[in-house]
Structures are given as structure tokens and as C-alpha cells.
Symmetry: C2
């Protein structure tokens, strides 16, 4: 049972709505905010005045060179970059990077280094993340939140990394450790989910209420947005598309099961097949991008084994997408990551197999878009997730709750 709406709740929601409108439009005027939120000008005026006085928003020069028109010029409103700072951590195979981001989403500082994730103990891994946050925040004042993007599965509450290919340890409690150390809320996210978040911010006209983001890389990841909501499981970050079964008793997957889509379409699987290894051979830990490029080129040049490896990858992906689309209606697909450099080889075959499934009824109407570098997307998604959490939890509270440092309440100031 959802809880009833009380009076302060109403203000809270409308504040949140105004903040969201400011983030979505680029420096909108009050009039524009009133239009998109459906609230009256007077209400927007009041809320905007509050937000500005509290240091959350500020008036700014108008965005896209507004053609000088008759009448009182619009006053653009933008988030105040100094209202808050958050840290985004990106943890992936042999690599950890941290970015300090201002309240507008612009990076302030950046720090990344390589580390042998597979070899680290649980404590060393957590210690490294703590250290990365320390380094990137050094000399930049307090932060209000930390977001962590991980390869692998997070729990739905965003506190732990339940499983990840980058480490032998399960249930790594990154959230609690960072929360205790830095005394700010921390959430751990699956990287593919964050890619979907980023696509939503970058291309809302294409990626809005229903779409699929697929990460083709060493493994296969998926972020799914349904009905405008990021899709998550009850316990885990969910959406393990790569571990749907393609063929019972198929090749060995990194997860230990057999016949997963990833065991056909992950880099290691394509590499294993193209090199004529046994399908039951244990997946190698990592493969250089250049090596995958070479395989793709071999396939383009007609190398039979390489062609077959990519064909089988496409078959698994095609049937997998078909099965997904049997459950949800077909939706725009974004394909992201290193694997997209061979997408010219994959796409026609994917479409061919997709057309053979019930979900692929109108396979030719299904559209793919590829983007090879996933890292900026993950970072962007992580930042926006952290910032919108701030928007909701810190900057749109019921008014009698305490506000964070740097955001004095109207009454406190007057």
C-alpha cells in the first residue's frame, strides 16, 4: 500500500519535479518549467526562489542563444555547480577509476589506475576503492554521495557486489565500507544499467520509456528500461541477458553453466571458437581488444573458423533478443562496448536469427545503434544516478527535515 499524500509531501514532490525539469531541459526559464510540470507560474516562482535562496539552483545566462524577442527576457535557471559534489567509481577488470563531479555533472577531478583485481583479497579490493575516493576528493571539500559502477551483479539495494568476473570474491560489501569511511550514502550499480541511464539522458528522443542497452565485451551485459523504469530484480541488479540459455548442454560459460548466450557471444567465447579450442575449455580471463580486432578482420577476409565463431555469436544473440522480445515488446537496442567493432559482422546474422523467433515478428523494424566506447557512458550514467538521488533525497525533503551543509533553509537565512 502506497502511503497517503500529506501536505509537506506535496511540496516535496513539486520541488523534486522542478529540479528534474531543470536537469532535463538545458537552463530552462520559469515559464518553461511551468509548462512542462503543469504547475502554475506562481508555484514555480515560489519554488524557484526557495531553491535559489538555498543555493541549490542559480540564475544563469540563457542557454542556446535565445533569439532576442520582444518582452521581458527569460531568466534561465541551472543547478548551482557548487551545491554539491559526488564521486563516481568505476571498477572493472584490472582497473579502478574515480571521478569527482559537481552538481551540474561536470567532472572536477579524475584519478584512475590499474590494479590486479583478480589477485586482490577482499580487503585489498575494498581498500583500493577507499583510497581512490580519498585521492580524487583531496583538497576539494566534502562530498555528498558516492556511486560505484561494477562489472557483474549488484544487489538491488545497491550495497554489495554480489558477483563479479573481476574478482573471485562474492558479496563484496563495497557500500557499507565506503559509507562508514566517508559518512555519505553509497550505491553500487551494474555497469550496463548505468549505460542505459546515460543513454536516456543523452538521447531521450530514442531511448526513453522502453529500450535495451546491450554491452558486448568480454562478457555480455544488459540494461533494460521498461515503462520508463530501470529494470531491476527483487534481490539483484537483474537482467542477466548474457546468462539466458541458448542451447542446453552448449559450451562452458564463465558462470560455470553451459550454453549461456555469453558462452557464444562473449569475447572469450568468440576467441575460443575461432581458435578451435574445445567448447568446454575454461574461458580465459581477458583478451586484448587488438586481438579481437584481428579476429574480426580475419572473418571479414573470409577465414572460415572466425566467420563461424561470429556467426554462432550472432545466432545466440539473435535468439536471445527474440526471447527477450517475446516477453517484452520489441524496443530500440543500443549495442555498446568493444564487441561493437565487429558489429558489421554480427548485425545481419542477428537479424536473420531474430526473425525466426516469435519476438522477432517484425525483425526489420527493430533498430540497432552501436557505440564502441562504454566507459564515458558508464561514467555519465553513474554521475546522473548519484545526482538525481541527491535531488530527491537531499534537495527535495519535507521542509521540516534537516538540509545538508551548504543549503541553508529559507527560514535560517531570513
Amino acid at each position: 500500500m502506497t502511503v497517503g499524500i500529506r501536505h509537506d509531501e506535496m511540496r516535496k514532490r513539486n520541488r523534486a519535479m522542478v529540479i528534474a525539469a531543470v536537469r532535463q531541459a538545458d537552463r530552462p526559464s520559469r515559464t518553461h518549467i511551468a509548462r512542462v510540470t503543469g504547475l502554475s507560474h506562481s508555484t514555480i516562482s515560489a519554488i524557484a526562489a526557495d531553491l535559489i535562496e538555498e543555493g541549490i539552483m542559480r540564475e544563469a545566462p540563457p542557454g542556446e542563444a535565445a533569439a532576442p524577442r520582444r518582452g521581458r527576457p527569460q531568466i534561465a535557471i541551472a543547478p548551482d555547480p557548487n551545491a554539491a559534489r559526488v564521486v563516481c567509481l568505476l571498477l572493472s577488470f584490472n582497473s579502478l577509476s574515480a571521478v569527482l563531479v559537481d552538481y551540474c555533472g561536470a567532472p572536477i577531478a579524475r584519478h584512475s589506475h590499474r590494479l590486479p583485481t583478480l589477485a586482490l583479497s577482499r580487503e585489498e579490493l575494498m581498500g583500493a576503492t577507499v583510497e581512490a575516493v580519498r585521492k580524487v576528493t583531496a583538497g576539494h571539500g566534502p562530498i555528498l554521495r558516492i556511486g560505484v559502477a561494477v562489472q557483474g551483479i549488484a544487489d538491488s539495494a545497491g550495497k554489495e557486489m554480489l558477483w563479479s568476473p573481476i574478482t573471485p570474491h562474492a558479496n563484496v560489501s563495497l557500500g557499507p565500507v565506503l559509507e562508514e569511511t566517508f559518512a555519505v550514502p553509497v550505491t553500487v550499480h551494474n555497469d550496463s544499467n548505468l549505460i542505459a541511464v546515460a543513454l536516456r539522458w543523452r538521447r531521450p528522443e530514442r531511448y526513453r520509456d522502453n529500450f535495451v542497452a546491450i554491452l558486448l565485451s568480454h562478457g555480455i551485459g544488459m540494461g533494460l528500461v521498461l515503462d520508463g523504469h530501470m529494470f531491476k530484480g527483487e534481490h539483484s541488479s537483474g537482467g542477466e541477458f548474457g546468462h539466458m540459455n541458448h542451447r542446453p548442454d552448449g559450451p562452458l560459460c564463465r558462470c560455470g553453466k553451459r550454453g549461456c548466450i555469453e558462452a557464444y557471444a562473449g569475447n572469450y567465447a568468440i576467441w575460443r571458437r575461432a581458435h578451435g579450442k574445445s567448447p568446454m575449455e575454461k574461458p580465459v580471463a581477458d583478451i586484448d581488444a587488438s586481438e579481437m580486432e584481428a579476429l574480426a578482420n580475419a572473418a571479414r577476409d573470409g577465414d572460415a573458423r572466425a566467420r563461424e565463431a561470429f556467426r554462432e555469436a550472432a545466432e545466440a544473440l539473435g535468439y536471445g533478443l527474440g526471447n527477450l522480445f517475446a516477453l517484452i515488446d520489441p524496443a530500440p537496442i543500443a549495442v555498446v562496448g568493444q564487441g561493437t567493432t565487429a558489429f558489421d559482422l554480427l548485425e545481419p546474422e542477428i537479424r536473420r536469427y531474430l526473425a525466426q523467433t516469435a519476438g522477432g515478428q517484425h525483425a526489420d523494424a527493430i533498430s540497432f545503434e552501436a557505440e564502441s566506447n562504454e566507459v564515458p557512458l558508464i561514467e555519465h550514467g553513474c554521475a546522473m544516478t548519484a545526482l538525481t538521488s541527491l535531488d530527491r533525497e537531499y534537495f527535495a525533503p519535507a521542509l521540516h527535515l534537516a538540509l545538508p551543509v551548504g543549503a541553508p533553509r529559507r527560514e535560517d537565512v531570513a
Copy 2:
């Protein structure tokens, strides 16, 4: 962008919340409503007074023999059965039934008859539904809404039957025809989705935020509730679990594709396999329940072909559920329909195959519950869907909107 909350919107929502609380609890007191909604006693008192004055609710003798306690006795509140009536239509293979239901959900009148759905023209089919509504409402005053439950796929707006095995016609516009004839809102639903709705009302302690309802019958249907929301596609009623692909190039499915789960686990598939027919033989239209019972008994008695048919059905279901659970986290499963009479044969095998998939990690923790008769569930789900729509759209409007006949507004009365 969600729209802002205005003042009348607040009242509307809180009214809706109170009505929902009354439906969910059995004849709650005002105090109970205040507790579950989180609203104050004064607010509940005011809203309840409005609802009673408008004829939507009424005070009723307390529900479950409240032990006589000290203090002022609670006054139970219940929906006024006379506030509205709705019609539920159940359209399935060779059968059409209509139920007239009061605002409490109790059936007032019922009418059903057999008709050769496969042979009917589009117009005859629609005409039959109109006639069924006429018959069941005759002499009972006006209705406020019609819900239609169909085997097959509805569009997400609930206006059309996009595809159904019971008729050769696609895109049958049941909604518009009935809406025009009876001048009330009409929604068309997939039957499996309604089963899920009914389970939610009947067993909220087990079926609430995340669960799967599987309909095992001539075909395979699925209703999926995720995060408390009925799962639907963007265009269709969605969740075509039965048409996920089990084996590329597998047996011929009723949908025309090959290797769908249904082509292994639907009654027609089990029958085809057990009778040694070719996997590519066109599925028969219908199979008598007694014949399926006989097959199940043969399998129990050790008949090899029958055993194998059920084993293959279980394999397809097991892998299919595993794939589903790779996407969503495992959730309680309700298995409904004629096919459950053989569930003793299926369940152990389903678990065995499920355990071989990534989604079946903890296969032994996944629980099944079977219920053989789906019709009462579909009817119940259809009724509750229609009634809760009324609750929201008619009985919790912004106050300056018109109210339907039979529910005079406070001002009109005073």
C-alpha cells in the same frame, strides 16, 4: 515528465487510497484505514464521510466477528454494492460467458454459452460479445464498465485483441464496438494477466510484488508481476512466455514459428509427441481434458512415449523458467489450468532442468503452487480490474469533475 501535484490532485489520490484500503482490508474501521494509509484520523473521517454521502461506501456490520472490546466499537466500512455494476466477459475457445458484478465484486447474474469461435466471422464474433452483455444486463440497470478476458494477445491500451488462437482474425476491435454500443469504457485483457491479478487479491502474502502465473493449457500463457506492477509490453499485453524459443528448429508451434516452449509444453504438443506424430504436424485445434488425463495416466503407468512427451514438456518449461529467472530474479510461481493435473509428472523434471540454467541457481528455493481451474481466477481478476478502474477514474476524480449516475456529489445532495 510526470506532472506536478496540484491541490485537487492530492484529494483525489487520498480518496483513491482510502477506497483501495477498503477493498484490500475486509471492512476496515476508519482507524484501520488511517493506520495503513498514514493519513490522519481527521482526514480519513472527512473522506469517509464524503464517500458515504456519495453512495460509494457504506457503514457495515464489522467483518470478522470483532471480539467485543472496551471502548467505542469500530464502525466497519465497505463498498456499497449498489454504487456500480460492471460486466466481465470471458472469451475463450468455443465459449463465451458474461458475468454481471456489483461494486463489491459479487456476481449478480451470469450467462454463458458455447459458440464455434473458429468459424465465426469478425462481425459475428463481435456481435456475440455485444449480445452476451445485453443478456446479462437485461433488467439490471446501467453498468459503468466492461472488462473482457481473452485467450491471446491484447494491445497494451486494452482495446483490441491483436491475436488469438480462438479465431483466424487479427486485430479484433472488441473495445471500440462494445464502447460504442454500451457507452461505457471497455478494456480487453489477456487471461493470464488476469489470473495474476486474481492471485494478488486472493493470496497477497504469497503473490504480491514479484511472482509468475503460468497457464498450462492448450497453449501456454503467463502473467508476470514485477515490483508490484502487472507487466505489459509497450504495444501488447506482453509476456509471451510460451513463445520464447526453446530449441532452434524445434517442433512446429501454433504461432507458425518453430521450437517455442508451447510447441513442447502445450497440450497439443504433448499430445502430438505422445501419439508419435511428426513434430512438424500442424497442431490440432483442441483436445479434450479427459484425453490429456488419459495421457498423464499412461505416463504414470510407464508408457514410454507418454513419459517422454511430458519429459520434453518439462524440459522446455524448466529451461524457459530458467531464462526468465536470468532476466528477473526467481519469484514464486503459480501454475494454473488443465495442464496442472499432470503437474506431478512435470514438477520434478522442471526443477531438474531449471537447475541447469543460470536463473535456476537456487532451484530448490523456487516454489510452485498449482491450481487446476483457471476460470474462476480469470473471472475474479477481470472483475477486480474493472472495479479498481472505477475506483480510480469515477470515484476518485478531481472534485469538480462530473460523477457518474448513482453517485451524487455532496453539493448536489446538500
